[in-house]
């Protein structure tokens, strides 16, 4: 067992890259994820495990 930390920016970048490989931008990936419209299995799994980071404001954004 190992333990590590990851930043929100790293995850957003990963999701953005994955979405682009499936011809989606991050906004469309987020929209389809929120509305349960993602069909590609890789994108569905990514949304399931990491999609919540796209539902929160970046840490640097004032509330």
């Amino acid at each position: 067992m190992t333990r590590s930390d990851v930043t929100r920016d790293e995850i957003v970048e990963m999701l953005d890259r994955a979405a682009r490989e499936h011809l989606l931008n991050l906004e469309e990936f987020t929209r389809q994820g929120r509305n349960n419209l993602l069909v590609d299995p890789e994108l569905r799994d990514l949304w399931l495990i990491w999609g919540d980071v796209l539902n929160e404001a970046p840490a640097s954004t004032p509330a």
Binding site: S4, V6, R17, L48, W50
Partner: protein, 178 residues
């Protein structure tokens, strides 16, 4: 008072280590990846965000494999503390059997078991079968419904307390002698 979040998450990862080590000759270590306080993802191997996406699939070697594993296991969890802020709870998980028919090919899913604790409009735990069925086409067509692909259908397999575990998936593979 139960241990804190990090200790509980690490204990869960060690349990997964032990489980997979009992099944595979060369098991990956499970990794706890924290993104914020009391909120972590647990998966096999090292999370790589550059070039690949998420945790790697786990090789399930078979005696007749020629060039790398042809069967692969997906297993990932998102865990937080429960409402009382005491016990580890799974928010979402993704299990699945994937195949790679040739070494250079991209893995494809056979079936995937998703768990979404807060799911709406579908069972919290459900299976997606990556296959097609003429009989299912007839069921939808004779009901006047547009036919989804099988992978779009959420086949329910249990509620929040009875979702399939990764042990169930591994045991089913062994029982089917796959």
């Amino acid at each position: 008072m139960p241990p804190g979040f990090e200790e509980q998450a690490e204990r869960f990862a060690r349990e997964l280590d032990d489980l997979i080590a009992g099944c595979l000759a060369s098991p990956p270590e499970f990794n706890v990846v924290s993104l914020r306080a009391a909120d972590a993802r647990i998966g096999p191997g090292q999370l790589t965000t550059d070039g690949t996406h998420g945790f790697p699939l786990v090789d399930l070697p078979r005696a007749n494999d020629v060039d790398g594993a042809s069967l692969l296991l997906k297993v990932e969890f998102r865990v937080v503390l429960d409402q009382e802020q005491l016990h580890l709870t799974v928010v979402t998980s993704a299990f699945g059997l994937w195949v790679r028919s040739d070494a250079s090919g991209k893995p494809r899913p056979v079936f995937r078991i998703e768990y979404e604790r807060d799911a709406r409009g579908k069972a919290a735990a459900h299976v997606h079968f990556h296959a097609e069925s003429a009989d299912m086409a007839w069921v939808y067509g004779s009901a006047g419904q547009p036919l989804p692909t099988m992978k779009e259908i959420h086949f329910p397999v249990g509620g929040k307390r009875f979702q399939p575990t990764i042990e169930d998936v591994l045991l089913s593979l062994a029982r089917e002698k796959l």
